[in-house]
């Protein structure tokens, strides 16, 4: 029974070689000649733009894709050692957190002024890139348009018992509740959350899960951002789900949530960082957001995607997002206390 040694050593050799290769690689690719972007927007939503920027300017970019809250926590943990120059966030809460930790640097005034005043931070630590509107997605086979609510506040009514899905741990839901607190006050926000919990609102993991469940008819309605249903229908046009924009005047349910770009306090590549942010606010980039990702461009004069109503036709609320960072914990406590997440 001879021991067959060769196959084992061949494998060991191959692994050692691969390991060497891996250790060697970063030495070639790293170096400080590249702009480092931490992006909470996934590659599908921004990769092509970053490539175009590199082609046009010659500035090479390295991107770390991740979830916005995790990337914010990572930047905070990295502190002064952070390799990141620019942070692109999918949700304002994550930027607010970093702002509160003092990790952001102001952008030049002429860059942030490309968007309306309410879509950038007063201290210019972030600027909005694109907008998403909170909507009620509904199954057209289960719900008739007459039965849809005028305001998000109506959803606590008996009529909607067990019918409206929410994603209480999701960043955009938390941002929405924070907006509600600043618009209507803590008491009314608490009342609404408790009303939703008492109304047996089913909870889901995230916006995608809600849109999928509404499409399957598992739940008739759900609170989500507007573009998830548009993307679902782009892949499967037969899905019987539609977006409902709350028609009530200045309804907090029709919140416009912006995605943002920021320059990090640790960057020593200010010029490149600013140039990139400026590019993301160019007409070319803004059109990409409208056409490719179904979001609302924020720079004036760039048309939104054809699938969505124009912002001017909607009664969209905008909230001072500067308050979001400091308000996060209080919002989380309110949601927890209401029992909605359980």
């Amino acid at each position: 029974m001879a021991v067959r040694r060769r196959p084992l050593s061949v494998v060991a050799g191959a692994v050692a070689l691969a390991a060497l290769l891996l250790v060697g690689l970063p030495a070639c690719s790293s170096g400080n000649d590249r702009l480092v972007v931490y992006s909470g927007r996934s590659e599908e939503l921004i990769g092509p733009l970053l490539e175009r920027f590199s082609d046009e300017t010659g500035v090479k970019i390295d991107v770390r894709y991740g979830d916005s809250p995790e990337l914010a926590l990572l930047i905070d943990q990295e502190g002064d050692a952070s390799p990141a120059d620019v942070f692109i966030s999918q949700n304002p809460g994550a930027v607010g957190f970093l702002d509160q930790q003092g990790r952001l640097k102001p952008l030049p005034p002429d860059v942030v002024r490309r968007v309306p005043a309410q879509d950038h931070a007063e201290d210019r630590t972030w600027v909005g890139l694109s907008g998403r509107v909170r909507v009620l997605v509904y199954n057209t086979e289960l719900v008739s348009e007459d039965d849809l609510p005028r305001s998000v506040l109506d959803l606590t009514a008996e009529q909607y018992r067990g019918e409206v899905a929410v994603a209480p741990t999701n960043g955009s839901f938390i941002d929405f509740v924070t907006a509600m607190r600043s618009e209507l006050g803590d008491d009314q926000a608490r009342e609404w959350l408790e009303g939703m919990a008492d109304n047996d609102s089913p909870t889901y993991a995230n916006n995608n899960a809600i849109v999928a469940a509404v499409g399957r008819g598992e739940v008739p309605m759900g609170l989500v951002n507007h573009y998830y249903n548009l993307r679902a229908k782009a892949e499967d046009p037969g899905v019987p789900s539609e977006n409902w924009y709350f028609p009530a005047e200045d309804d907090v349910g029709s919140l416009l949530i912006v995605t943002t770009a920021s320059k990090l306090g640790t960057t020593d590549r200010d010029d490149d960082a600013e140039e990139l942010v400026e590019f993301l606010l160019s007409e070319e980039a803004q059109r990409f957001f409208g056409e490719e990702t179904f979001e609302y461009p924020l720079v004036e004069g760039v048309a939104p995607p054809s699938e969505v109503p124009k912002l001017a036709e909607l009664s969209v609320t905008r909230v001072d997002l500067d308050e979001l960072g400091s308000g996060l914990r209080a919002t989380q406590d309110l949601i927890d206390e209401s029992g909605l997440a359980e």
Binding site: D62, L74, P168, T203, V211, R216, L328
Partner: protein
């Protein structure tokens, strides 16, 4: 030469051995020389200490990380809003463990020891459900089998109205059981491959029925492997976030994740609580495991094969049902996503061929991530086995406090959510003198995988080490073979199937790993898992489906080449 046959009285012996827990088990093998009560060699103890210290890094991080406020900690730990989810977590973990243990052991026996039709195929396919990232598995099963899903639409016209709801406890239990049984299957199948057939043969010759032989001879011998895998299932279930969230079962991890940005102090405190509980569970399990029978491996040229007789086709049906739901079902749904995206997508309207349509969907973009995934997976699997083997020796061969501590830390750490481990390792790397070179480098990423998945290789390695007959080693020693030579020529070949099983588990886990990959990888390093995550999180299901299919195909290939074929050399 072979130890006295273990009998069905194992448990009783174990219980009665309460008083002498210091001895390595009620029915220790009749091995000559080296009692397990001997202290470990100095070098091995040092290595064990190093491993214990390194693997305590996440817990120490949780304890020292700024932001834990004692008051909020106490409040968070004692509040109903924490304890209820914790109770649900434990309930789910117990139920999933029991189911996965039964399914994994059954499949392992059927595919290694019976005359089940197509058993080699099943052996290759059975571990694969492990490779689905849990959010992909759950989304695919929901889209396929939930109310209003693909199956519902297909069954509707033939009169089947309502499928049972795939959500809450039952949904989470079913889905997690289907996707975690490989933790049991791989080590147990490896164990069956090295079981001495003589015991079974004797029992059969003495007239015992196959079922009784299984219960009284085979099962007790496989028990350590079953227990090892089941513990992994338990810890994995405790740490899972993606699947339970999608299936709408509220567990402890939701509380941890939910407050990670809004109230980091609470999130850290609760993670610490989870980690300490897991370490305690593992230490407790070790006390019990030590009393179990020790069984020895032989290099059987041909393991005993039990004819299933009239049960052959029913067993076949069960295997098909399990793999149909855990592997084929998700694969069909993923394929459906891809096809739907291609047909409905803009690319296909001009009447493109399938090849160009696939190209539009970005299959070419997946070549580099696929290669990255394979290489990093294999490197991490080998590194993990190498790092863990000394501790497996320490705990399998000797009485050693250091070994016990290292074991508890390595295995207990598996209950921590991957995100916690990723951030802990990043935290320490940033504070190390070599941070500039180390942080977000390949070695650090591999180290993160080793720390996260060390548990998977630990349990399998312990089983493998324990199964090497002491007599063989003693004989080699008396013949004058040096330690390394004994290890290489005598022990390693015997342990290889077990070590391979552990490496296989690590490989599959690394291939789907997300948090450490996302936040510790060298910038720009893409794996299939990161590609799938990026597409799925924004609702691009066609691309997510395509990436997942490539991931499954790749893992099937690697499992076949590196694990199944390797263990079959011992058939």
């Amino acid at each position: 030469m072979i130890a006295a046959p273990p009998t069905a009285t194992t448990t009783a012996a174990g219980l009665s051995a309460d008083g002498d827990a210091g001895v390595a088990g009620g029915t220790a093998p009749a091995s000559s020389g080296g009692s397990p009560a001997d202290g470990p060699p100095f070098g091995l103890a040092v290595v064990g200490t190093v491993v214990a210290v390194v693997f305590s890094a996440p817990l120490v991080y949780l304890a020292v990380r700024n932001g834990i406020e004692l008051e909020t900690t106490v409040e968070a730990i004692t509040s109903r809003a924490t304890l209820d989810p914790l109770r649900r977590t434990v309930t789910l973990a117990v139920a999933v463990s029991a189911t996965a243990a039964a399914v994994g052991t059954g499949l392992a026996w059927l595919t290694t020891r019976s005359d089940l039709p197509w058993r080699r195929l099943w052996r290759t396919l059975a571990p694969l459900p492990l490779v689905f990232p849990s959010f992909v598995a759950a989304s695919a099963l929901l889209a396929g089998f939930a109310r209003g899903g693909l199956l519902d639409e297909l069954l509707g016209p033939i009169g089947v109205d309502r499928l049972p709801d795939l959500e809450g406890f039952s949904g989470a239990w079913l889905v997690l059981s289907l996707f975690t049984y490989p933790y049991v299957f791989l080590p147990v199948a490896a164990r069956f491959a090295t079981l001495p057939p003589s015991l079974e043969e004797s029992a059969r010759l003495l007239g015992r029925s196959p079922l009784r032989v299984f219960r009284s001879v085979v099962l007790p011998q496989a028990a350590p492997a079953v227990a090892a895998g089941t513990l992994l299932v338990f810890l994995y279930t405790v740490s899972d976030f993606g699947a339970v969230q999608l299936l709408r079962y509220d567990t402890f991890t939701r509380v941890i994740y939910g407050s990670r940005v809004t109230n980091p102090g609470r999130s850290l405190a609760l993670s610490l609580l989870l980690g300490l509980l897991a370490v305690a569970v593992v230490a407790g399990e070790r006390l019990v495991a030590r009393r179990r029978t020790r069984i020895e491996a032989v290099r059987a040229r041909r393991p005993l094969q039990v004819p299933l007789g009239r049960w052959r086709w029913p067993a076949f049906a069960v295997v098909v049902a399990v793999l149909g739901s855990a592997l084929l079902g998700p694969v069909i749904v993923l394929g459906w996503w891809v096809a739907r995206g291609l047909l409905g997508g803009a690319g296909s309207r001009s009447g493109n061929s399938v090849v160009t349509a696939l190209d539009d969907a970005g299959i070419g973009d997946l070549v580099v991530p696929a290669a990255n995934t394979a290489v990093i997976g294999v490197v991490a699997a080998v590194a993990t086995v190498a790092a863990i083997l000394p501790v497996a020796y320490l705990t399998g061969r000797y009485r050693s406090r250091v070994g016990d501590a290292a074991n508890a830390l390595v295995v207990g750490g598996f209950a921590l959510p991957g995100l916690v481990i990723a951030f802990a390792i990043g935290y320490w790397a940033l504070r190390s003198p070599a941070s500039g070179w180390l942080y977000q480098s390949f070695p650090l990423l591999v180290a993160a995988y080793v720390m996260h998945f060390g548990a998977q290789s630990m349990r399998a390695s312990q089983v493998a080490v324990a199964a090497v007959p002491r007599g063989l080693e003693d004989a080699a020693r008396m013949l004058g073979a040096a330690r390394w030579r004994r290890l290489r020529t005598v022990e390693l070949p015997l342990m290889l199937p077990g070590l391979g099983a552990g490496a296989g588990l690590v490989l599959l886990s690394v291939m789907k790993e997300l948090p450490a990959t996302l936040y510790l990888r060298p910038i720009g390093f893409e794996t299939l898992a990161t590609e799938v995550w990026g597409a799925a999180s924004e609702g691009y299901l066609a691309r997510a489906g395509l990436g997942s299919l490539v991931l499954v195909a790749l893992s099937g290939m690697l499992t076949w080449v590196l694990v199944v074929r390797r263990s079959e050399r011992f058939d």
